[in-house]
């Protein structure tokens, strides 16, 4: 057959073309037809069969696809196109080991074939089998003595030593690394080292073995200079540090700094070397004396001899001051007064927006009193008082910097509410003045120079709101931000803060607008998902949030599919310096907490809002392939990919611990995920008990066990139920504190407390018992029915009460509790919707089985004498009908409450806002009108959606 293919390969290629073309454009059905047509003429054409398998796979006909591909694989194909199609299919199905086998067979039949061997190598790369990689790379090198292949084998040896299963054993690690070094040594001796990446790899191997002297000699040698002229100078720093050669490092850095006077990395290393030289001086008598005066003189020399003022040497001087103080050395004596140095820095660079970040670096090293005094002096130095306004943009930026620093020093936090309000008014006026004086002729892509005033103002208003526990000031801040956004359409800080406030007030529509405006895409969906996507579950919408989950999940699934090809790419280009980085990146991306959480929430959301008849709903349920018995989450690998620094803040440094905040929220998010994924699995186990998924049936028929013992089919459910109550018990004991909401930029509270407060635990625990009792017909069934209906009534009560409470709050403050109220209502409706779905499935099953089994039952029932009779299926069905009837009533009660749920009244009269805003009246009117309309519309959308949801649930239980 190979012969036949060889002869007519061009012809076959032409015949196969339509199949490929159809697959490419996603016309899978047509591709299937074309491949079948081709197979009728040429039944032995393997590639056509493989393509048929691929078409079936794409059509979701997995079993047929599987057997089709199996037939091809058993033929042990060798032609490239068939192999490509097969490995593509296996990649889709995540059966990566099969690709290895495939190419192993192919290589066996064509030993020494370079192309096949290269494919085999990459197939080992995909499964991270470094040992096998090494062997294949050597075969490749034997077949084609290319350097790339030789170094593929070298890096495979290195990875066995540092990443493979044996890397934990120190002796093994040593052996592998020594072997890798010998391999390169040999190559160098033969004069065969050719590229910079090869030189990099050699240096890397030496460093991994702590052979720093050898590495230094190679790095500074002739060969490296020739092959690797772009070797980063930081490699030299690293090695000199390891070698303790501080003098040489010090001299090298002085040279570099003379040429490059603004490099922070150089200054940092330079200062380190100075302090090390000082240490050495004090411990060894023999060496020449080193004092920090040399260091200080050098920095002064740079400052004095620079024509253009750069921040570098000034910051280095501050750093020297800071490090000297940390070492109890007389900093003031040598470098001068710290405050004075900061002020000098401020006067020189205060007109650059980065000045705040720069000065902030040195604040933690001084006392609170000193910080606040310093902040006061900076404000004075900025030359703006209550009676003066900035004269130009630079002047204004200095003022902004001084204000930001004073917030960071904790000055604002100590002010009274009246003072804060006055500060807010001043900031607002400064914004308006800056906008009209310096912000008018901007490009649409530029940020307004006075925007930072408004950002600060929003933070100040949040402080007041928190103190007063009222929303009006924060609402005004939102209006101000929306005003700024009209003037400065590209200011993402404004969008992020507005997004935050909209979420706090439960205004989904406003939040979505800001999110869309930010144009978050690709990997940002992961790192920035926390500002929106992660806040959507139980926000009050179900189907409305599905789009956002979808676009996020689409990014993740695509990256998941591609993840190994990125790594293969580093091999193709022999980029040894990036391989480990790529492998770690793959882990981080595919284990993103957001990815997992979003998948679980999307599934729950689908179960809550499935809109079809029972059969259709079950079909979509099956398509979700939830396997209750199988916890598919790699809990220990989960990764926190949030970019929390993207949101700018100037909160008091002594009250902000960003890392602790990150950890606390992350821990809680993991617990939330535990709850949600367990809820999903537990619920799925209810359904599966009555509606075994096809995969389970398949497994049963394959295993040839007849019917499982009755205890076995309920085992999963019982186990999950135990975990469910166990998890709740643990979480209550853990007593997590709600995340601090002290500052505007703090992360939004997690749903953990909401989930523990609402009767999720009891509801699903009792429901589990009901499902079991219904299954076995246990005698306490009636009692259990009663319990569950009480729970239903309780959930309905919470829903109705929450809405009443929300309406009452409207008289006091329509926004302050809005989000919490919406979340509670959404959670209640989630519980009831899941329950409704379950009842509809149970009812469907019981009705069909009473119809078919009535005859059989009557004959066999007599056997179980002595034990109580199980309740007959007919009775069970009647009880179920009753549960459905009750649920229908409760759903109707919820709907009645929803109908009278009022849109949030905004905290004060709009007219008083207008008076307060003191911006241009015509702008204000439309502005506040728009913001208010967003709130109103958002509420209406939510109510409409929730009522539709209820209507549908009433329909499915009303039948």
């Amino acid at each position: 057959m190979a012969h036949q293919q060889g002869m007519d390969s061009a012809l076959f290629e032409r015949r196969l073309r339509p199949v490929y073309d159809n697959l490419e454009v996603g016309n899978n059905r047509k591709a299937l037809q074309e491949s079948e047509k081709l197979l009728r003429k040429h039944p032995n054409l393997l590639c056509a069969r493989a393509l048929k398998g691929l078409s079936l796979l794409r059509l979701g006909r997995y079993e047929e696809s599987h057997s089709c591909l199996q037939v091809v694989a058993e033929e042990k194909p060798v032609d490239d196109s068939t192999l490509q199609v097969l490995s593509f299919c296996y990649r889709e199905m995540e059966q990566l080991h099969k690709i290895v086998e495939l190419y192993q067979h192919a290589v066996k039949q064509n030993p020494g074939n370079e192309e096949l061997l290269a494919h085999l190598f990459v197939s080992h790369v995909r499964v991270e089998d470094y040992k096998a990689q090494q062997a294949v790379a050597l075969q490749l090198y034997k077949a084609q003595p290319k350097n790339a292949y030789y170094f593929w084998s070298v890096i495979s040896v290195v990875f066995q030593g540092i990443r493979g299963p044996e890397s934990a054993i120190p002796e093994k690690r040593k052996l592998y690394l020594a072997l890798a070094q010998r391999m390169v040594d040999k190559h160098i001796k033969e004069g065969k080292l050719e590229t910079e990446q090869e030189a990099f790899l050699y240096l890397h191997i030496l460093k991994l073995q702590n052979k720093y002297q050898e590495a230094w000699e190679f790095l500074t040698g002739e060969l490296c200079a020739k092959l690797y002229p772009g070797a980063p100078v930081s490699m030299k720093f690293e090695l000199l540090k390891e070698l303790g050669n501080w003098k040489e490092l010090n001299e090298l850095l002085q040279q570099l700094l003379e040429a490059d006077r603004d490099r922070w990395d150089y200054y940092k290393e330079y200062l380190t070397s100075c302090f090390e030289l000082l240490k050495k001086t004090s411990s060894d008598e023999g060496t020449e004396n080193y004092t920090l005066t040399t260091c200080h003189d050098f920095l002064l020399h740079i400052i004095q001899s620079s024509e253009r003022k750069t921040r570098g040497p000034y910051l280095a001087r501050l750093e020297l001051h800071q490090r000297m103080r940390a070492n109890q050395l007389p900093a003031q004596q040598l470098v001068g007064d710290f405050d004075q140095l900061i002020i000098e820095y401020f006067l020189l660079f205060g007109d650059k927006s980065c000045c705040t970040h720069d000065i902030a670096l040195f604040l933690p090293s001084i006392s609170m009193e000193q910080r606040q005094a310093l902040a006061g002096r900076l404000l004075v130095e900025s030359g703006i008082s209550s009676t003066t306004l900035p004269q130009n943009k630079e002047h204004m930026q200095k003022h902004i910097c001084a204000l930001q620093i004073s917030r960071m020093c904790g000055v604002h936090i100590e002010l009274s509410v009246d003072h804060l309000l006055a500060l807010y008014t001043a900031l607002k006026l400064h914004y308006e003045h800056g906008y009209s004086s310096f912000g008018k002729q901007l490009l649409s892509t530029e940020m307004g120079p006075s925007d930072p005033y408004a950002l600060l103002a929003a933070n100040v208003m949040y402080d007041i709101s928190m103190r007063e526990q009222k929303s009006d000031q924060l609402f005004e801040a939102l209006c101000l931000l929306q005003y700024v956004l009209r003037n400065s359409t590209s200011n993402f800080h404004v969008k992020l803060l507005s997004l935050k406030i909209y979420h706090m007030f439960g205004c989904m529509l406003g939040a979505q607008e800001m999110y869309d405006y930010l144009d978050i895409k690709q990997i940002q969906l992961d790192s920035m998902g926390y500002v929106h996507c992660n806040l959507l579950p139980l926000s009050g919408r179900f189907s409305g949030v599905r789009n956002c989950y979808d676009s996020t999940l689409k990014f993740f699934t695509n990256s998941y599919k591609e993840r190994l090809e990125y790594i293969a790419l580093t091999y193709r280009f022999c980029t040894f310096s990036k391989m480990e980085e790529f492998m770690n990146f793959k882990e981080r991306l595919t284990n993103s907490l957001l990815y997992v959480a979003c998948s679980v929430e999307a599934q729950l959301c689908d179960l809550v809002s499935c809109y079809g008849n029972v059969q259709q709903n079950l079909t979509s349920y099956v398509a979700m392939t939830i396997e209750p018995a199988d916890d598919r989450i790699a809990w220990n690998e989960l990764s926190d990919n949030r970019d929390l620094e993207a949101i700018i803040r100037w909160d008091p440094l002594h009250l902000v611990d960003a890392e602790a905040e990150r950890k606390e929220s992350y821990d809680q998010e993991i617990e939330v995920l535990q709850l949600r994924s367990l809820l999903l699995r537990l619920f799925a186990s209810f359904i599966d008990l009555y509606h075994a998924p096809p995969s389970a049936k398949l497994a049963l028929s394959n295993a040839k066990t007849i019917t499982p013992a009755p205890a076995e089919d309920t085992a999963t459910l019982e186990l999950l139920r135990e975990s469910w109550t166990g998890l709740h018990q643990r979480l209550r004991l853990m007593n997590y504190k709600p995340l601090s909401q002290r500052f505007l930029v703090n992360l939004q509270p997690t749903r953990l407390h909401l989930l523990l407060e609402l009767p999720y635990e009891r509801f699903f625990d009792d429901l589990a018992q009901l499902v079991l009792d219904l299954y076995t017909g246990a005698s306490q069934l009636a009692l259990q029915c009663k319990r569950v209906s009480e729970n239903v009534a309780c959930v309905m009560e919470i829903c109705v009460q929450t809405i009443t409470e929300s309406n009452e709050w409207n008289g006091v403050d329509g926004l302050w509790k809005r989000r919490t109220h919406q979340q509670k209502v959404a959670a209640c409706l989630e519980i009831l919707s899941l329950y409704a779905f379950l009842l509809s499935v149970l009812n469907d099953k019981l009705q069909t089985s009473t119809k078919t089994k009535t005859k059989k039952k009557s004959s066999g029932d007599n056997k179980s004498q002595g034990t109580p009779h199980p309740i007959s299926e007919k009775e069970r069905s009647q009880m179920l009908q009753e549960l459905m009837r009750q649920l229908k009533h409760k759903l109707e009660a919820c709907d009645a409450a929803l109908r009278i749920w009022k849109a949030p009244t905004l905290p004060r009269d709009l007219s008083s806002f207008m008076a307060d805003m003191s911006l241009k009246p015509e702008v204000e009117a439309t502005l506040i009108g728009d913001v208010s309309a967003t709130f109103k519309e958002s509420h209406e959308l939510m109510v409409t959606e929730l009522r539709n949801l209820l209507k549908d649930k009433i329909r499915i239980v009303g039948k």
């Binding site: 990395d265 650059k352 720069d358 940002q524 770690n584």
Partner: protein, 180 residues
């Protein structure tokens, strides 16, 4: 005051304060990974003392014979760190690497309307080598300038003798195919 270091995959999770800028495109992952895998030394990042990402440059080296040249694919600086000479620093870095790789010149494409950028590149010694018609597609297609600067290997500055006529995208593609 800057730390220059190679851009790493992890930085993709942290570059939002730069990429939220409306002139900075966030590409698909494969775009970044391809550059990182193929031209790792051409993807550099500037970091502030407070360890914020200030900006980055993404580029490559390609071409045949006397067309062997460095190319700037993307250069971006966060709004908070503008007017500090950062773009020049990053450009210098890329030119330096291209010198070390014995390239003849460095080139880049820029929107004809982006006066700020064109001005900056001119100050850095780049000339408008030619106009490429409708290079940027969008609501309104826009022409690009192909700007160039000769490196020391191009002793006679042959690479920077400007075209007098604009070229179309098709012609550009043909040239590129010819090159690779």
């Amino acid at each position: 005051m800057t730390t220059l270091r190679p851009f790493t995959c992890d930085d993709l999770f942290k570059f939002n304060n730069v990429n939220f800028d409306p002139l900075t495109e966030t590409y698909g992952l494969s775009f970044y990974t391809q550059y990182l895998a193929k031209w790792p030394e051409y993807f550099q990042l500037a970091e502030s003392p407070s360890e914020h990402i200030m900006g980055y440059i993404m580029g490559k080296v390609e071409g045949h014979l006397d067309n062997w040249h460095g190319h700037v694919t993307a250069l971006t600086v966060s709004p908070d760190y503008r007017r500090l000479g950062l773009a020049a620093l990053l450009m210098n870095f890329l030119e330096d690497i291209s010198e070390k790789k014995r390239a003849y010149f460095v080139d880049l494409f820029v929107r004809k309307s982006n006066k700020v950028a064109i001005n900056m590149y001119t100050n850095l010694g780049y000339i408008i080598y030619r106009t490429i018609l409708e290079y940027y597609s969008g609501d309104q297609d826009e022409d690009a300038y192909d700007m160039r600067k000769a490196l020391s290997r191009d002793v006679n500055k042959k690479s920077v003798i400007p075209y007098t006529q604009p070229i179309t995208m098709r012609e550009l593609r043909q040239q590129m195919r010819h090159d690779v």
